[in-house]
Amino acid sequence: MQTTEQKQNNHKRTFNTAEYNFAFLDEGSKREIRRKSLKAVAIPGYQVAFASREMPIGRGWGTGGLQLTLSLLGRQDTLKVIDQGNDDSVNAVSIRRLVEETSGILTTEETAQASIIQSRHRIPEEKLKFDQILVLQVPQPEPLRKVERREERTRIQHAEMDYSAMWLTLYESIVKWGSITLGADYPVMVHERYIMAPSPIPRWDTEKLHQSHHLTLFGAGREKKIYAIPPYTNVQPLEFEDYPFEVESFDGLSCRHCGSMDSFLDEVVDDEAGITIHQCSDTAYCRQQQERIG
């Protein structure tokens, strides 16, 4: 049985793609991005500069992730695009359309069926496998930017593993607020070497990067940086011995659609009833759970 999505795709396949190279970018650009991605894989957590191209979507709307995706795509790939867990948001749809129109490849909403998943702000709930690649869109690749404005200084700090200033902001947060108040984009130590910004994923997702089966690539279009977490890499959120890292808690809450008690939940306000209710942020996961219950 075909989903509506796939029917649409079949339609798209007849679209004339002749005026573009396969997957929009020219082969030279793709090769350069793949070379930089390989370098990023070889040095987990290290930000590799690349020549970010102009894309038909605005910078800051996922051009870094999109360029990674386009450089990775082969004709056999199946792509899933999500924005904050949602396959149907305007951004996700427009990126998916662009890829479909310029490559004619299949797209899907099913996490397990995708070979490449481009995402903004979330990692799917379903555990990714070794033959899947997760591409995350990154607005600010430099985790030290909050404590040091100058690029030449942060480069030296990474080179020398001079991370005191970063720890200091965490310490100050504890002194002022009693805990570390950072939410999304929580800084992590990658393989005991580089501090890295995992992109604005919730803390909930941070642990999914540790010793994962899949490869994660990070692309920042505006800042022209690529970095990576290869499979089976140690990814440790920064934490003090007596203030351990904690993920968001949804104690006692469950999804209003699927009843799930172990997924990342979004808050929605029910205007009629005037109460706050919760639902899965990962819509594909939610649908899957609903189908399972029947």
């Binding site: 080179a159 005191s164 200091l168 310490y171 002194v175 011995e241």
Partner: protein, 296 residues
Amino acid sequence: MSMNSADLINNAEKEWVWNETPLLKVRGLSKQFGAGCIHCKQPTSDEQEGSRCQYCGSIWACRNLSFDLYPGEILGVVGESGSGKSTLVKCLYFDEETTVGEMSISSYEDKTSNLFEKSAQQKRYIRNHVMGMVYQNPLLGLRMPISSSGNIAEKLFAADHYHVGSIRQRAADLLQKVEIPLARMDEPPKNFSGGMQQRVQISKALANNPPLLLLDEVTTGLDLSVQAKVLDLIRNIQRELRVAMIVVSHDLGVIRMLADRTMVLRQGLIVEQGLTDQILEDPRHPYTQLLVHSLL
């Protein structure tokens, strides 16, 4: 290798006074500001010649400085404005890159290797573990908007301490030692008076128990009564912790109060060094005589 008689006497005297190996050994330290030209490739040891090259304007701010510092000892560095005192301690702390010379610290790893040739990462390690620096301008040594305890914590992170409870205990102990009230340990230094800021700087410099502390004009600009308190504090710390110190000042009063031995700098050269009492009572070099007599 030849050695003149003054050196022999000096060495013999040291053997007798300090029956120990030096903590810090500096040999032939020179620092040039500016590109230099064929006329100023080498720093001259000629006292008649100024430190500024008349052809290209480059300055040999430190010229061929050699000295030792023993564990727990306070060495004073005195000289007029521009004589190279700050440049010297900045070179030792790797704030400035030394043009030529050697430095070794007996408590660091291989004891004898030239620390000026270490990598940037090793230098940072040495700065954080083996040395502490207190600048004349607290803006250079403190992060003004960050809590005082956080200023100390920053040093402790560099030494791989990541337990907030014990970091805060250590910060409290150190701040108490410099008489900052416990209730104010999380206030930023920008809220503090000049004297208090200097005391926070001192506690930060001591965070990792370094055997060596560098102090550059720490009391300059403070009220006299505040000066006296800070000097007292430095003396107490030296007695209690047996930290060796290099105390830079253009104020002979400060040197007299703190330093066991003293080195007189002029135009980047050491014109005289010896026991502080001797130098103050019986200065040999005409320049020192001038300094001492203008004090009296």
